[in-house]
Subunit: 502 residues, 2 copies
C-alpha cells in the first residue's frame, strides 16, 4: 500500500490529508490535520502576507512536516492557492517553509486550482454537463463541464475571507454592505459570459460544506455528512437571513458552521447566492471532495489525463466493498440472482420496472456483507452503518440511505423506512419491502457460498408467483433455505410465492 | 491468515463457525451458520435418534460441508455433544455424515464437553475462582474453577430440550410440572456435593444468551449484545413468570428470545433458576463464547495446555486494536502520556486515585483511533461504535460503555454519559469529563505522532494545575495544540490549567 500526503496551503486553512492507496484501488483517506491558519488575514490591497500570518503558516507547516516524517510518508505534495499566489512577498514565505521543512511548495495558478477542483467534482459526483464552484478563502474557481471535460475555468478574487474583509463590517453587517458585495460578485461573474444555462451546479470547499451542514441540521436530516446533499437557493436565503441577523462573533454558533469559520461564513453565503442567481441555479450539489482530492486523483490515476475515474458510482461501491474485503464471488452471485429475480418479476408484470430501483438493488447486493468486518453478529446492521459512514461519492443522500436499508434487511427484520426522514417519498415502504425481499431470497439461495444455484426464472401461475431455480448440483438445501426467507417478498407482491427446482 | 471452521453438532442446533486467525493473534469470528436441527427431538427414554431428525442432521451437515468447500476452508473440526453421545443409534448418523461429507465427527465425552465450555468461560471472562454452567439442548455442563484451573466438571442430562420434553406439557406448563422439573434439577445438582460457595457463576449456551437478551430488553439496556451482562436471579424469576404465563407457541415472541427456541426456553429458565438456587448464586455473568470457542482456543493456542489466554482483558483490547490496524507507537504513547497525567493529578491530590478509572483510561487510549478504519471523518464516533460492537470479552457492559465513551470524546464534543442508561452510577459524568479531558490533552501532545513529548509532570501551584512537558526536540507546536484542548480537563478539575515546557 502506498501513502500520499496532500498539503493544501489554503487562504483560510491549511490542511494535511493522507491517502492510503493501491494503484487501481482501493483508496481511502486515512488521516487529516486542519489548521485555521487564515494566512490571507490582513493582506489588504497591497497584497502582502502579514508577519504574524507568516509565523502561523511556518509553524503549521512544521507540524505537518514532522507528522509526515513520524508517519513515514515521503510522498508529500504541498500546494499553495490564491493567497500565496497573489502575495507580493510570497517568496519570503516559501523560502521559510523550504528552510524549515524541505518542501518545494507548488503554487497553483488560478487555472490549475480550477482544474483540480473540477477533478474533485467529476470524480465524486455524476456531474457530466454543468458547472462547478469551488469556494476558497481568497478566490473562487468557477468552471463549465461538458461530457465530463473541462470547457471553461476561471479563478476570481471572491473568496470568503477576501470578500468578508473587503465588504462587511467586522461585527454587524449592514444591508447596504451586503448589497454592495452581491453586486460586486454579480458583475464579475456575469462578465464571464458562459456562466449558467444548465440546471446542474456542483459545489466544493469548506464554506459550502458548512452551509450544507447547517441546512441539513435545520431540516432534521440524518447526520451522515454532506456528500450528495442538495442545497437549494431557497434554503440558502434562509441561512443568509439567519447569519446576517447575528453579529459575526455569533455566526460560528449556528449549528453546522465551524466556530473558526463564523466570521467569514456570511460572506461565503452571499457570494454563493449571487453566483447561483447569476447562473439561474435553483440548487447546488455538495461534495466532500476538494482541491486536495483533485491533486490526489492525479497521483492515483498516474498517466491518465484528465485524471478521470471512468464510472464514479461503480468505483465508489467497489472501493467500499474492497476496503472491507467483500468483493468476492458471493457478493457478485447474490447480485446476479437478485437482478434475475427483479427482471423476472418485471417481465411477468408483477412489479413495475424501474431502472433506479434495479440499480439500488445491485449496489446493495455488492455491499450487503461488508458489516462482517465489524462483527459477524448483527452484520446486516453494521453494513448499514459502514455504508452511511462512507458517503458513497456519486450517489445522493436518498440513494445512500436506501442502499443502506436494503443491506440492513438482507437477512432479517421488518423493513422500516423511517430513517429516511425528510428524504422519504411516497411508495418507499413498498420499495424497500420489495428490494429487501428479493435480496433475502437471493442470499439464501447462495447460502452455501458455492454458486450452486445458477439461474432463476419467474412465472405468474394461478395467482401465485413461482420462482424456478436451475442448479449445477443438488440444490435442495438452497431451496429449502430460500423458502423460509420468502415471506417478505410474498408480502410485498401480495401473492403466494413458491420456490422450486426448475 | 488461517481459517478454521468449528462445527458444533448440538442437541438443539447445529452451528458452523469460521474463525480467521494468525498464530499469536489477532483472531476474529468471520462467518456463521446456525440451523435449529433439534436432533434430540423425540429421542425419548430409548435414546434413539428419530429418522426425520437424522435426515435434518445429514442435510444440514451437507450444507455446512459445501460451505466449507466453497469457502476454501480445509481445517474443519466437527464435534458432537450430548444427543449424539447418548444415542444408541449414533453410528448410523455418524456413518451417513461421513459418507456425505467425509467428516469424522469427534463425539465429545461429558467431561470433554465440560472442558471446552470451561475454556470458553475462562478465556472470555475474568472468572478465576467460581463456577460455570453451560446449558445445552441435551445436557448441562457444570464446573468449578480455581485459579483459572478446572477442578470439578460434570455433564448432567438436564438440557433445555430434554427437560422440556420430559417434564412440560406441549402447550401450557402447569405449576405442578414446573415444580417437579425444579425438584429433579435440584436433586441432581445437590448430589454433586461441590456446587456453590462462591459468588461468581458464568453462563454459556444459546438459551442463557436468549434469557440475558430478554432481560436486557426489559431493562431498556443499550442493544449491544449480551457479552458481560449480569443476569440476576430476581430478573430470571420475572422472566420465568412471563414465559410460564404464555403457551409454548408464544414464548418465542418474548423480545430477546429466538422464535425457534420458544418451546424450550421455559425449561431452560427453570433449570437455570434451580441451579442458581442450589448454589446460592444471586447472578450469572453471561458470555457470548461457547463450546465452539473452547474448541477453537485449543487450535489457536496449539501446544498450550490448558489452552488459556494469559490476560483476557489485555488480549481482548489488543485483538480489537490489531484488527483495525491501530496498535502502533501513537496509541501506546497516548496511553503513556495519559497515565502520566492521571498519576500526576492523583499524586498532587487533584483527583482521587482509582485503579478502575486508570484502567479504563488505558484501554480507551489503546482503542481511541480504531474508528479511522470506518472513515477519518467522525472517527471518534466510529471508535465508539466499533468498541460497542466488539463486546470486549473480559469486561462488563458498564466498562465497555465507559471505554467507548472516553474514546468518543478524545477529540471533541461535550462529554455526555446518558448512553449509559441503566448502567450509570453516581459521579459518572465527572468521571467521563476527567478521563476524556486527560486523553484529549495527551492526543494533542502526540499530534505529530512522533513521540516528541516524552514525559509529563503535574504540579498544583497557587490554585492552578501546571502540566510540564519534557521533549526531545522543539515541542512548541505540541504544547500550543494541547493548550487549545485543555478546557475540558480544566473544567473537570475546576481549576485553571497551564501546560508548559519543563
Amino acid at each position: 500500500m502506498r501513502r500520499t500526503a496532500v498539503i493544501d496551503l489554503g487562504s483560510n486553512s491549511f490542511r494535511l490529508v493522507v491517502y492510503d492507496w493501491d494503484p487501481g484501488g482501493p483508496w481511502t483517506l486515512s488521516d487529516e490535520i486542519r489548521e485555521p491558519v487564515r494566512i490571507s488575514a490582513g493582506m489588504g490591497e497591497k497584497s502582502l502576507l502579514q508577519p504574524d500570518a507568516i509565523e502561523r503558516a511556518v509553524s503549521t507547516a512544521e507540524v505537518f512536516a514532522s507528522f509526515c516524517r513520524a508517519s513515514g510518508i515521503d510522498d508529500v505534495l504541498p500546494v499553495g492557492t490564491s493567497a500565496i499566489r497573489d502575495a507580493h512577498n510570497r517568496d519570503e514565505l516559501l523560502d521559510l517553509i523550504h528552510e524549515r521543512t524541505g518542501w518545494d511548495v507548488r503554487v497553483l495558478s488560478g487555472a490549475e486550482e480550477a482544474y483540480y477542483g473540477y477533478l474533485a467534482v467529476v470524480n465524486s459526483t455524476t456531474l457530466a454537463d454543468g458547472f462547478a464552484l469551488d469556494m476558497g478563502g481568497g478566490s473562487i474557481q468557477v468552471s463549465r463541464v461538458e461530457q465530463r471535460r473541462l470547457r471553461e475555468a476561471e479563478s476570481l478574487p471572491l473568496g470568503a475571507v477576501r470578500v468578508s474583509e473587503g465588504f462587511l463590517s467586522e461585527d454587524e453587517a449592514s444591508a447596504k454592505e451586503m448589497k454592495k458585495l452581491t453586486k460586486h460578485v454579480t458583475d464579475q461573474i456575469e462578465r464571464l459570459g458562459w456562466w449558467g444555462g444548465s440546471p446542474r451546479l456542483a459545489g466544493i470547499g469548506g464554506s459550502i460544506r458548512n452551509l450544507a451542514a447547517a441546512a441539513q441540521k435545520r431540516a432534521g436530516y440524518p447526520d451522515s455528512g454532506v456528500q450528495g446533499f442538495s442545497l437549494t437557493r431557497e434554503t440558502l436565503a434562509e441561512l443568509v437571513d439567519e447569519l446576517a441577523g447575528r453579529p459575526a462573533s455569533k455566526r460560528g454558533k449556528v449549528p453546522g458552521i465551524k466556530p473558526d469559520r463564523g466570521d467569514v461564513i456570511l460572506g461565503a453565503a452571499l457570494v454563493l447566492a449571487a453566483a447561483m442567481d447569476a447562473g439561474g441555479f435553483e440548487s447546488i450539489e455538495v461534495t466532500e471532495a476538494g482541491l486536495r482530492e483533485g491533486v490526489f486523483f492525479e497521483r492515483f490515476l498516474d498517466g491518465v489525463h484528465p485524471a478521470l475515474i471512468d464510472d464514479v458510482r461503480g468505483q465508489s461501491v467497489d472501493n467500499l466493498a474492497r476496503r472491507y474485503g467483500h468483493s468476492g464471488a458471493h457478493a457478485k452471485h447474490v447480485e446476479h440472482l437478485s437482478l434475475e429475480l427483479y427482471d423476472g418479476l418485471a417481465d411477468a408484470d408483477l412489479v413495475e420496472r424501474s431502472a433506479e430501483d434495479r440499480d439500488l438493488l445491485a449496489r446493495a447486493c455488492a455491499l450487503h456483507d461488508i458489516g462482517v468486518a465489524v462483527h459477524y453478529d448483527d452484520h446486516h446492521k453494521h453494513s448499514r452503518y459502514l455504508i452511511l459512514s462512507s458517503g458513497l461519492p456519486g450517489f445522493d443522500q436518498r440513494e445512500v440511505e436506501l442502499i443502506s436499508l436494503i443491506a440492513r434487511y438482507h437477512r432479517k427484520g421488518e423493513p422500516d423506512v423511517s430513517p429516511l426522514g425528510a428524504l422519504a417519498r411516497d411508495g418507499d415502504q413498498e420499495r424497500l419491502a420489495l428490494l429487501a425481499g428479493i435480496i433475502r431470497i437471493a442470499e439464501q439461495l447462495e447460502r452455501g457460498r458455492d454458486q450452486t444455484v445458477r439461474n432463476l426464472r419467474v412465472a405468474s401461475e394461478n395467482g401465485s408467483v413461482v420462482v424456478r431455480a436451475t442448479a449445477d448440483e443438488d440444490d435442495a438445501v438452497a431451496i429449502w433455505s430460500a423458502r423460509r426467507a420468502a415471506e417478505l417478498l410474498a408480502g410485498a407482491l401480495e401473492r403466494p410465492l413458491e420456490i422450486e427446482n426448475a
